[in-house]
Structure formats: structure tokens, C-alpha cells
């Protein structure tokens, strides 16, 4: 699935982007489109190439081939113009430990330009570090350093934020605050936020668009809802008075591909050819159970999550024994 977004409407666009380390392709001919004004999740398992992709976009390492543009500027030929309004955290945020939080921001502000100094105070306030800004960073927790990293991004008054695994080290309260901050940046301020993560749940909660990357290739990309709906697997939760007998009945039912116990119910994978035949399958399963004398009190389709889609399309499914997937 690929969004049809024109070049003017993209914050990031790549075409055939490839990065090789020797013979191994860390990023393999990637065509990526990140719509402006979106919270975009760059989702993939560890080692999929997410950080390498970010490093290329930011000019930290050179691409082996292909082209890319950031905020409409080709990179690396117009790198300075492209990055002038980009804030980024690559891997974990790092700082000079001997300096205070405020001094660390002063260092970056000096590099960005004189007008940036005025943004230090508001940026610290935005991430809730005003009270601790004059303490040395070596005394900061990881969560505080993450927040200071976001403050450093805000110094650019960014049109685009690129955040690599941004919720690492945050406690649940911090994660919630982070989600709210990203939502405000996207929805109220019109910024684009590009988040790389291996945490499906996080991406689903924070982002409206995503790309799934695996082994250096983009498997699919688009709006989150479309990606989840794109799942080829349809499941049904079945509640019945005798689950053991129900399992026996479903074992002989051609519409039930697989069934297992789940939280006092049965979770049934339907044997469907396409989306439209799912209701008929569910009806057939219900009929079979009722015909066997079972009392059916629940028939509920399982909402397809990004996680299911992710497991379907990434190599993790094929790398994992079948019983673990269905357990």
C-alpha cells in the first residue's frame, strides 16, 4: 500500500535509497513518502535499518545510491537548507555532561544562529525542564535527557522532527506526556513528526501514518487505519457454554482455520478468501455451533491491530515457530 502524496506535500521523500555496508544492504532501494503535517511511524524490528535510514536523511552517513529530499530540499546537495528547520534525536540523546541543560542548549543555539537563543527558555518550559535547567546534565535521568533532547529539537522551530526511539527510558507518565506533546505539535502547530520505533503499540497510539520496514526494505506504508485494515487475517471471538465441545465442532468446520482458548472465550481465525466473505464465515460458524447444541452468547470480530499487520508482513512471523505465534 502506498500513499499517493505529491512531492510538495511530503516532508520526506526518498527514491531507490540504498545504503550498503560491504555486501550487506542495510537499506535496500527504499521509496518513502512522509506527508507533511503527519505523525509518521517508521516501524520495524531491531536491526531493520531504521536508524541507518535516519542517519542518511540527516547527512550523518552517505547513501550508497538513490535520492532523498527533506522539506523539499534535496539531500545532501542542499543539506544546510533542508536541516535548518529540522530537529532530530538520533538513538539516545547525548549531551556534554559537564554542562547544565541550559548550557547544552546554548551550545546548539550558537551553532544554529543568533535568533535561536530566544527559543531556549520556551523550549525548556515546553518540556517541563525549566526548574532543572541549571543543573548539570550528568545528574539528569534518562527521561530528563529525552526531554532535553526534545527541547534541543525545538530550538530549530522545526517543521519536521525526526525522533529515533523517543520513548526509550520514559516512565508511563512521561510516555503519556510525550504522546500529548506529539499530538499538539502535529494537530495544533502543523509540524511533521517522524518517529522510528519497534514499539507497535506506541506507533499506533501516537502516529496517523506509518511505514513498516524489515531487513532494509519498506514492506508497506500509508495511514495507520489503512495499514491495519490491510491485514489478510480475520478473527472472531466466540463465547459458548462448553468451550471444549465448541473446539471439537470448530475442528470439523471448514470456515474455521484455527481456534484457541483466549480469556474464557475462543479466538477463531476465519478461512476467508476476501473481506466480504468474513460475515458469511462467522454466520456459518455460529450455525455449526448452534446445530451442535451449544449455547452461543458472543460473536465478535477482532479489531485488526497494527501489531497483527506487522507480524504478518515482517520476517518475524517466518522466523518464529508457528505454535508461538498462535499461543
Amino acid at each position: 500500500m502506498t500513499s499517493s502524496v505529491d512531492a510538495a506535500g511530503t516532508a520526506i521523500q526518498t527514491a531507490g535509497l540504498t545504503k550498503r555496508f560491504g555486501k550487506r544492504a542495510a537499506i535496500d532501494s527504499v521509496d518513502l513518502q512522509v506527508p507533511r503535517g503527519s505523525a509518521f511511524g517508521f516501524l520495524g524490528p531491531n536491526g531493520a535499518g531504521k536508524t541507518t535510514m535516519i542517519r542518511m536523511l540527516l547527512g550523518l552517513t552517505q547513501a550508497s545510491s538513490g535520492s532523498m529530499s527533506v522539506l523539499g530540499h534535496p539531500v545532501p546537495s542542499e543539506r544546510a537548507a533542508a536541516l535548518a528547520r529540522v530537529g532530530a534525536i538520533v538513538e539516545e540523546p547525548r549531551f556534554h555532561p559537564q554542562l547544565t541543560g541550559r548550557e547544552n542548549l546554548r551550545v546548539v543555539a550558537a551553532v544554529r544562529g543568533p535568533e535561536t537563543h530566544e527559543r531556549i527558555g520556551p523550549a525548556l518550559q515546553r518540556v517541563g525542564l525549566s526548574d532543572r535547567a541549571d543543573e548539570k546534565v550528568k545528574k539528569y535521568s534518562l527521561g530528563m535527557r529525552q526531554r532535553l533532547g526534545v527541547a534541543r529539537c525545538l530550538l530549530a522551530d522545526p517543521l519536521l522532527l525526526i525522533l529515533d526511539e523517543p520513548t526509550n527510558g520514559l516512565d508511563p507518565g512521561g510516555i503519556q506526556e510525550f504522546r500529548e506533546m506529539v499530538h499538539a505539535m502535529v494537530e495544533q502547530e502543523g509540524r511533521t513528526v517522524f518517529i522510528s520505533s519497534h514499539l507497535l503499540d506506541e506507533v499506533e497510539k501516537i502516529c496517523d501514518h506509518a511505514a513498516i520496514v524489515d531487513r532494509g526494505k519498506i514492506i508497506t506504508q500509508g495511514a495507520i487505519a489503512e495499514l491495519a485494515e490491510g491485514s489478510t487475517q480475520h478473527e472472531l471471538i466466540v463465547g459458548a457454554d462448553d468451550l471444549d465441545r465448541a473446539l471439537l465442532v470448530l475442528d470439523g468446520c471448514p470456515q474455521a482455520k484455527q481456534a484457541r482458548r483466549s480469556e474464557g472465550n475462543l479466538q477463531v481465525v476465519l478461512s476467508v478468501g476476501d473481506d466480504s466473505s468474513a460475515p458469511e464465515c462467522a454466520a456459518a460458524i455460529n450455525s455449526a455451533l448452534v446445530a451442535a447444541g451449544l449455547a452461543v452468547f458472543r460473536l465478535e470480530p477482532v479489531r485488526q491491530s497494527l501489531e497483527q499487520r506487522f507480524l504478518e508482513v515482517t520476517s518475524r512471523l517466518s522466523d518464529t515457530p508457528a505454535e508461538e505465534v498462535t499461543a
Binding site: 550523518l60 544546510a80 551550545v107 544562529g113
Partner: protein, 262 residues
């Protein structure tokens, strides 16, 4: 990049160095400590046996102290500062955060040099002031250095330590490793360079040594062999040798900063 940004970037690099307490303290110890010890020892000697040991101050002691500051311990302090200036961003892991601002990597490298020099010069001026205080305070009836000698001595101190500081920035930026750069520079400064300078068989090849070119500009006699002047250079040759050292190491550091994966 305009002058304002360049000045702000240099100011930021000075801030980083200034707040690096460990390096600062060791540099202060190396720059000021030996002079302090020199005068304390000379004062005690003079007090214990005035007939054998003259006053601790005066022109002769100024010359000896100048050698201590400019040729022996000052350069060690300078190389610590230079190495920190060259590797500070990389070792703290913030180099990539500076690169993603879009600012040219050469500009990032360029601001390290004046910052390291500024911190080094402040420290060396401090050591030099201490030397002058001792020279005049303990001179008794001995002649004291002229204004011209004082100014030349200051210039020489800044030149000798500044050269090593700049080379250290370049080498540290090239290696991106603080321990490697410090070990290499100390080994060169304390062992290799004096050893090469004392091998007469090397003849004019020794003109290419930074220590020999630096010694040419000394306003006081620095002795022969080792850290002293083993070969006689013309002013022009000495200048070219020093320039070559600076250009080569800055070019290497700049090249590495521009091409390395951040």
C-alpha cells in the same frame, strides 16, 4: 556563516572547555605548578645558603623559568587543552547533534581551534604572570628583564604552547580518541622529538622538527640538544616549518571531521 555565528560557536567551544574541570585542573597544575615549585625551591636554597645560592629572581632565573613554562610543562598543558578541544564533541557523543543542525562540518571543526587557543593562552598568561612575579619579587640586587625581553618572552610562550595546542586539536580530531592523541603527543613531545633533535647524524632533517623551529624564536638561550636548539635555522625556514606543522595537522583534522560518520 557570518562573524557573529563564528564568534558564538567559538564562545560555545570555550564554554565546553572551561567547564571540563578535570582537564582544566591538570592543565593548571602543569602550567603553574612547576613555576611555583621552581621559585619555592630557589627561595629556600637562597635562604638556607645565600653564599652558594643567589636570589630566586632576576633575569637568569627568568630565563630558566621561561624554559620551564614555554618548552617543558606549558606544552603539556597545551596539548591536554588541544586534545579536549579536538575530541570533546565526539567523545560526549554530541557531534552528530551539531551536524544535524545543517551547519558545515568544517565550521564545526574551525571553531575548535580558536577556542582551544583562547583557553590555552589564558592559562599560559597566568603562568607567565606568576613567572614575572617571582622574577621581580625575589630579584633582590640582581638585574631584572627589560620590557622588551618580557614581551618577547610572552610571545615565545604563546607561540610554543599555541603551536602544540593547534597540532593537538588537529591530531585529536583526526583520531577522535582522547587517550590515543594524548599518548601520541606526549610520546612525541617528551621522548621522540628531543631524541631526534639530539641525533647529529640526522643533520638538516632536524630542521623539520617543530621544537627546533620554535626554539629559533626564543628570546633566551635554550641550550643545545633535547628540548634545546640543536640546529640553526633562518627565520624564514623556522616560520615555514611551523606553518607546515599547523597546516598539515589542521588539514588532517578537518578532513576527518568532514568525512567521518557522525
Amino acid at each position: 556563516m557570518n562573524a557573529t555565528i563564528a564568534a558564538q560557536m567559538t564562545g560555545a567551544d570555550i564554554l565546553k572547555l572551561r567547564k571540563k574541570r578535570g582537564i582544566l585542573i591538570w592543565s593548571l597544575v602543569l602550567a603553574l605548578g612547576p613555576i611555583l615549585i621552581y621559585f619555592i625551591a630557589a627561595v629556600i636554597e637562597h635562604a638556607s645558603n645565600p653564599g652558594k645560592y643567589g636570589p630566586a629572581g632576576g633575569t637568569q632565573n627568568f630565563s630558566d623559568g621561561l624554559r620551564v613554562v614555554a618548552l617543558f610543562f606549558g606544552p603539556l598543558a597545551a596539548l591536554l587543552i588541544g586534545v579536549e578541544g579536538g575530541t570533546g564533541d565526539a567523545s560526549a557523543g554530541v557531534f552528530r547533534d551539531l551536524v544535524v543542525t545543517g551547519r558545515s562540518r568544517l565550521a564545526l571543526f574551525g571553531s575548535r581551534v580558536p577556542a582551544a587557543l583562547a583557553v590555552n593562552f589564558v592559562m599560559m598568561i597566568g603562568a607567565y604572570v606568576l613567572l614575572l612575579i617571582g622574577t621581580f619579587a625575589f630579584a633582590a640586587n640582581l638585574p631584572t628583564p627589560s620590557v622588551s625581553l618580557i614581551l618577547n618572552g610572552l610571545g615565545f610562550t604563546l607561540l610554543a604552547t599555541g603551536m602544540l595546542c593547534v597540532v593537538a586539536v588537529g591530531l585529536a580530531s583526526l583520531t577522535t580518541s582522547k587517550p590515543a592523541a594524548i599518548i601520541a603527543l606526549i610520546a612525541w613531545q617528551i621522548v621522540a622529538s628531543p631524541l631526534l633533535a639530539s641525533i647529529n647524524g640526522l643533520g638538516k632533517v632536524r630542521e623539520g622538527l617543530m621544537s627546533q623551529a620554535t626554539a629559533h624564536f626564543s628570546p633566551v638561550h635554550v641550550g643545545e640538544g633535547g628540548h634545546g636548539a640543536s640546529v640553526t635555522l633562518s627565520g624564514g625556514t623556522a616560520f615555514i616549518v611551523l606553518l607546515a606543522w599547523v597546516v598539515v595537522f589542521l588539514a588532517l583534522g578537518a578532513w576527518r571531521t568532514r568525512t567521518m560518520d557522525a
